[in-house]
């Protein structure tokens, strides 16, 4: 099989990337192009699709905060959730300033991670 032949070669990282990374991911974007054909931008279907996307994104956040990987897993849940809440609070308190939100959330999380590492 050609994939097996490729496995040993210097091209393998690129072949694997395209076949097992790029194509399985890109298929959803291509499908999005196909399915958006003929949809007017005031269609109620789009309002629903946007709500689905929004709920899905919130779920991605919940997943990354509740089941983190790597160095983030060593930081207590309280600090992870606290970082999100503090970041959002600073974001809205400053009139939706992204820089203020990101810096506040990050300061809390990195501070907690540093403190846990010390203890």
């Amino acid at each position: 099989m050609s994939l097996a032949d490729a496995a040993g070669s210097a091209l393998w990282p690129y072949v694997a990337l395209i076949v097992f990374g790029f194509l399985p991911s890109e298929i959803w974007r291509v499908l999005g192009v196909v399915l958006s054909r003929g949809l007017s931008d005031t269609s109620p279907i789009l309002v629903w699709v946007r709500a689905v996307a929004t709920a899905l994104l919130a779920a991605v956040v919940a997943k990354l905060v509740l089941n983190p990987s790597g160095a983030l897993a060593a930081v207590p849940l309280l600090a992870r959730a606290g970082g999100i809440i503090a970041g959002a609070a600073a974001f809205f308190a400053t009139g939706r300033n992204l820089v203020a939100g990101v810096l506040t959330g990050e300061a809390l999380l990195i501070g907690a991670a540093w403190w846990v590492g010390q203890g």
Partner: protein, 240 residues
């Protein structure tokens, strides 16, 4: 009738400037870690940077390289990557109608779709309504292109840098993704239905993870939470 190209170029730059004013840096920093993951599995730096250009989805790239690191079967990696990227379907569908222009071919639509990622999508949904319809496509390509370019460079830097980073900072970089997603999505929320979708998305995830398992959980949350939020939004608007 085609718009003068100097005007397109000016909107392209405006988009790039909007991205470089901050959002592009958070995406780029968040993708530093992918470089080091690629290095851990012995892939060349070119493949690591190409993963950002081609996959353009932090979580999928992490699954891809972490899967290789733990010896997952390639087919299983492909399935996990695909499940994690389902969000691009509703995101692409809701963005494309905002970026239509006369004479737009399939090629341009596929290129628009390829640049879709959480930051690009949520910031575009927020900013594009203020951009005149005929200038949206160059603005979008400027914004998304700047994010992608900076992130690709960051992936290459992370390839060499991450191993030497203190743990607290490494945790901070990983935290950028959920933090920025939260601000970007809540920042774009306008109606009660948007807030309901966000709240349901957070609340339903642990339940769907327990019920559907790791992979289909996100799709389940999107369909159930999004549909509920949509229906409640319609009912409350109809009552008004």
């Amino acid at each position: 009738m085609a718009g003068p190209s100097w005007q397109d170029r000016s909107w392209l730059w405006q988009g790039a400037r909007a991205a470089l004013s901050f959002p592009a840096w958070t995406v780029a920093l968040a993708l530093l870690g992918v470089g080091s993951l690629a290095r851990d599995v012995g892939h060349p730096i070119g493949a690591a940077m190409m993963s950002t250009v081609l996959i353009w989805a932090g979580p999928a790239q992490v699954i891809f390289y972490a899967g290789l690191a733990t010896g997952m079967a390639p087919a299983a990696i492909a399935v996990a990557v695909s499940l994690s990227s389902i969000r691009f379907l509703p995101m692409t569908m809701s963005l494309l109608p905002m970026l239509r222009r006369p004479g737009q071919g399939t090629g341009e639509q596929l290129l628009v779709a390829h640049f879709v990622a959480v930051t690009v999508w949520s910031e575009s949904m927020r900013r594009l309504p203020d951009v005149p319809q005929e200038h949206r496509v160059p603005f979008y390509f400027g914004f998304a292109g700047a994010c992608l370019l900076l992130s690709t460079v960051a992936t290459g830097i992370g390839y060499h840098l991450m191993a030497t980073l203190p743990v607290a900072l490494a945790a901070g970089l990983l935290f950028l993704t959920p933090l920025f997603f939260t601000l970007s999505v809540t920042g774009g929320a306008r109606r009660a239905a948007d807030w309901l979708a966000i709240g349901l998305g957070f609340a339903l995830q642990p339940i769907m993870l327990a019920g559907l398992g790791d992979g289909l959980d996100l799709l389940g949350v999107g369909l159930v939470g999004g549909t509920l939020a949509f229906l409640v939004g319609r009912l409350s608007e109809a009552r008004r």
